[in-house]
Every structure is written in structure tokens, then in C-alpha cells.
Amino acid sequence: MSSTWILYMAFAAVLLGVGVYCLLAMRNLIKLFIGIEVVSKGVSLVLLATVCAKGNILLAQSLVITFIVVEVCLVATALAIIINITRHTKSLDVRKLTKLRG
């Protein structure tokens, strides 16, 4: 109980780092969204790990379930936006989305 949650936090930090790197470096819109998914996996691991340290597992589970529901809505909406963007710009490249640049 004492040091296990630090282990989970360390791995969750790695997931967050990998996801943020993907968001910074990649150009494909779907790849960027896969990066967001990796970040959200790290977040749900943190949610369960921190509350595991306090021993209140039921509340942690309900928080994780809420987070997963929100995540699914985010995915559905964002993928719909990606499909619409590709129909307009004829490409999945994020650099082509510069029309709003002044």
C-alpha cells in the first residue's frame, strides 16, 4: 500500500510524456488524436492509483467510469470533426489547417 502507487504514478507519467510528445511532433490528425488517447490512459491510471493509496476503491472506480464516458463522447465528436476537416481540405495533414492564420 505504501509505495505501490508511486510505481503507478511513474508509469502514468511515462504515458503522459509519450502522448504529449505525439501531440507536439506528429502531423497526421488521427495520430494526434491517438496521442490524446494515450494521455487519457495515463490519466485514468492516475485516478485509480491515487485513490488506491487511500483504500477507497469504489469511489475511484466510479470516477474512472465517469472519465471513460466523457472520453467516449470526446472521441466521437473529435473523429466527426476530423472527417469533416478531411472533406474540406482533402488531406489529413494538420499543417494545411492554416487558413485562420492572420
Binding site: 511515462v14 502531423r27 488521427i30 491517438i34 490512459k41 476503491i57 466510479s62 464516458v69
Partner: protein, 162 residues
């Protein structure tokens, strides 16, 4: 404990593969495998409900949505990722890993032990989910509704006179 560390390493490995693989279908599938590992970790952390949701919704539904999107946008051709990003990644990853291990090691004995809050005996998961949390469930329902309406609005057909 050893099995848990192996599962966590597999989770990180599949996440890295999902980011680095060039084929989008393969990266969606390795994302699903990462979710599967996370679900098994949840089961082993004694959280079966979260594990079931993780495996069924995230590994199942989200993968289907990803593959659907990839199929719908496949005709637009490939996007060339910058080679520098792929070359720098191992260096950044190892540097991040070292910093992460050092920070967590220094935190290990400094963070005071959290006071344990023992759960009321006999409390069931459903009671916690539905009775202890009240208004945020309304928010959760609203989030789902907002998502449905957002997708509907995005795929709305244009009027004939436009």
C-alpha cells in the same frame, strides 16, 4: 507485483507502438491492446467495474470508431511525418524516463502517507455510483447528450437552397 510491472511495461510499449507505427490501422490496434493491458491492470488492482468499462468501451468501441474514421479518410493519401520527430523520439523517451525515475525516487519518502478512509462495511458499488454521487451524474448524462448533438450537427446535410 512482478506481473503488474510486466503489464505496465506492456501498456507503455503498446502506447509507444501506437504512436510510432506508420500504418494507422496498426496503431489503432496497438492502442486497443494498450487498453486491454490497462483493463487487466484494473482487474488486478481489485477494480473490476472500471476494468470491464475499460475493456468493453475503450478497447472495443473507440477502436471501432478509429478504424471507421481511418476507412472513411483513407482516400486522402498518406501524411508524411517529419523524420526528425521519429529520430529524436528515443532520445526524448530515455531522457524522460531517467527524469521520471529520479523524480519518483525522490518523492518516495517525502510524500506523507495519505490517511486511509476505510469504506463503510457492506457498501456496494452501485450505491456508491448512484447514491454517493448525485449531481455529477446529471453532468455525465448532459455530456453524452452534448456529444450526440455535436455529432448530429457536424454531419447535418445542407439545405437544397444553400
Amino acid at each position: 507485483m512482478v506481473l503488474q510491472i510486466i503489464l505496465l511495461s506492456l501498456l507503455v510499449l503498446f502506447a509507444v507502438m501506437a504512436i510510432l507505427l506508420r500504418d494507422l490501422i496498426k496503431s489503432a490496434i496497438s492502442l486497443a491492446l494498450a487498453s486491454l493491458c490497462l483493463g487487466i491492470i484494473f482487474f488486478r488492482m481489485n477494480a473490476p467495474y472500471a476494468g470491464v468499462f475499460e475493456i468493453s468501451v475503450v478497447a472495443g468501441l473507440i477502436t471501432v470508431l478509429f478504424i471507421l474514421t481511418i476507412a472513411l479518410t483513407r482516400s486522402e493519401g498518406e501524411v508524411r511525418e517529419s523524420k526528425a520527430a521519429l529520430i529524436i523520439f528515443p532520445l526524448v523517451f530515455i531522457a524522460f524516463l531517467v527524469v521520471d525515475i529520479l523524480v519518483m525516487k525522490s518523492l518516495l519518502h517525502r510524500v506523507p502517507a495519505l490517511p486511509a478512509t476505510p469504506e463503510a462495511a457492506g457498501l456496494k458499488f452501485g450505491e456508491v455510483l448512484w447514491k454517493q454521487r448525485t449531481f455529477d451524474l446529471v453532468g455525465q448524462v448532459l455530456v453524452i447528450l452534448a456529444g450526440v448533438f455535436a455529432v448530429l450537427a457536424l454531419f447535418r446535410k445542407r439545405n437544397k437552397d444553400e
